[in-house]
């Protein structure tokens, strides 16, 4: 029989998380600090609106780009929270999670040989999406000493004649790093000078703990070269609803819409109705959840300090990214032993890029009780490791 597979996809490595997931799922009594989604339920009024839309029989396709009311609410929201203005008709596309937006933006923008700059550690999908879109991923290794922010110098050094697109994943999963306005201004100068585009994945924008999030598209000269990705998963605890959106210049959105139209048709209708409610009446929920995350973030930072574990203070998302280099193990070895010996699951930093070596991603999308138990175990574990190395 002939080879049924595409070489391109066969050559894409499976997610590094997969392996660890299989390991964890064999242990049913493990405590996890490994999830990348909120621990809150979707606020009831939002769920209720979804249910209501079903009762009303709103079970048909919406228009390809999304419900008109939803696109309008997204426009209001972006104006209100990010100080950017988009045209609801030509510049907004409602997608199946932020993930779809990332995929189709790359497919709409890349020609074979185009280089895509991907700062790492970062979310697992940018690199494979770039490859599948025919682009060439070029990794920028972010540094702990810069608190995992992207600097203008790092960007400039990575740019070649073939560079077309920069992925800007802040607030960042897995490091929790943010880019403040001055950081963004510095990279924006390079972006404009070198005439490249930006795919700004701002899915964690509402989870910023050092002043409000700044979108790069709000900087002068940037909106016309930015595809902004956002969604409902993290801010409104709506991961399972699979709903996000992409905004950008009409010329690019038109092509993205084509892919979306043929591959997806439209985002789930129920989710779209729920999302309208989220944007209209969800600010208070977001604020409450943000406050809860912020409290836990402080708690974790404090605990690490007490343990003497090196960790920069992250101001975004719901992750901390402590350094475990002192133990002389790889991230995977550490995570492996931690799981086996203490039954706590954390994700090795290497799941998010090679430069995540020596780090762990620890999620604080958990109740304080859960965090406390896990931290207690972590304390035992690293005390034991330190004693071992003394011998």
């Amino acid at each position: 029989m002939r080879n049924p597979l595409s070489d391109t996809i066969v050559n894409v490595k499976p997610s590094g998380i997969r392996k660890f997931f299989d390991l964890v799922s064999e242990m049913d009594d493990a405590i996890s600090l490994g999830v990348g989604e909120p621990d809150f339920d979707t606020p009831w009024h939002i769920r209720d609106e979804g249910i209501y839309s079903l009762e009303k029989g709103r079970t048909f396709y919406t228009s390809n780009a999304g419900l008109k009311e939803l696109k309008e609410e997204i426009v209001h929201y972006l104006k209100r929270r990010c100080a950017v203005e988009y045209d609801p008709v030509k510049e907004i596309l409602v997608t199946v999670g932020g993930s779809e937006g990332i995929d189709i933006a790359m497919r709409a923008m890349l020609n074979p040989g185009d280089e895509v700059l991907i700062p790492q550690p970062s979310y697992v999908s940018y690199e494979p999406c770039a490859v599948l879109a025919g682009g060439t991923p070029v990794i920028i290794n972010l540094k702990a000493e810069n608190e995992f922010r992207l600097t203008a110098q790092e960007l400039e050094e990575a740019i070649t004649d073939k560079t077309k697109l920069l992925v800007l994943p802040f607030p960042n999963n897995p490091t929790g790093a943010i880019m403040e306005k001055t950081d963004l201004e510095a990279v924006a100068r390079v972006i404009i000078e070198k005439d490249i585009f930006v795919l700004s994945d701002e899915i964690y924008s509402e989870l910023s703990y050092k002043g409000d999030h700044v979108s790069i598209s709000s900087l002068p000269g940037m909106q016309e070269r930015t595809i902004l990705i956002n969604g409902f998963s993290k801010a409104y605890a709506m991961t399972g609803w699979r709903l996000g959106y992409a905004c950008g210049p009409a010329e690019i959105m038109e092509q993205m819409l084509k892919i979306h139209q043929f591959a997806i048709m439209c985002a789930p209708t129920t989710s779209q109705y729920a999302a309208v409610e989220a944007l209209r009446n969800g600010d208070e929920d977001v604020a409450k959840m943000r406050e809860a995350y912020d409290q836990r973030r402080r708690y974790l930072m404090h605990a690490f300090k007490e343990m003497g574990l090196e960790c920069f203070e992250p101001y975004g998302a719901f992750y901390v990214f402590p350094c475990i280099k002192e133990f002389g193990m790889t991230s995977e070895e550490f995570a492996d032993r931690f799981l086996k010996e203490e039954k706590v699951a954390v994700v090795p930093g290497t799941a998010f890029g090679d430069c995540g070596e020596g780090f762990l991603r620890i999620s604080y999308a958990y109740s304080l009780e859960n965090l406390k138990t896990a931290l207690e175990k972590m304390k035992h574990f690293i005390t034991r490791l330190r004693n071992e190395s003394c011998r």
Binding site: S25, G34, V35, G36, E37, Q295, R298
Partner: protein, 160 residues
Amino acid sequence: MREKILTYIERNSRVDLKDLAILLGTDEVSVANEIAQMEKEGVICGYHTLIDWDKTGSEKVTALIEVKVTPQRGLGFDKIAERIYNYPEVDCVYLISGGFDFMVMIEGKTMRDVAQFVSDKLSPQESVLSTATHFILKKYKDHGSVMVHQSKDERMLITP
């Protein structure tokens, strides 16, 4: 700071002060002082335990009683309320807008207990015009806590 402390301890008054200080990004002494001050000012009126008595097997009934009154000269609502809330079996007394004046919550061992309270102690009061007693059959949620089921973490253990 006050509001943050209150928001937190309203849901969990047993939180360790040291933990609370870390969560709110301050130090333990400030939190302790603020709480002591609020206790003194009567902002914090008590620390109670939310109990689902249904699960204990001990018999208890709770009733909500709507009370209509006529305030008399020199005897405003507050004075009448006092005559009601001084009974130890009365749990809450609220002054209410709308069709009646007070909402009284009372806990007794049996329905007869409650009925007796209404007929012997509440109704005979001069200012009380009428009462309507409603017995609570099932508590679904109280003080923000759902009592009928416990939520479980159903997320996958590891996700990117």
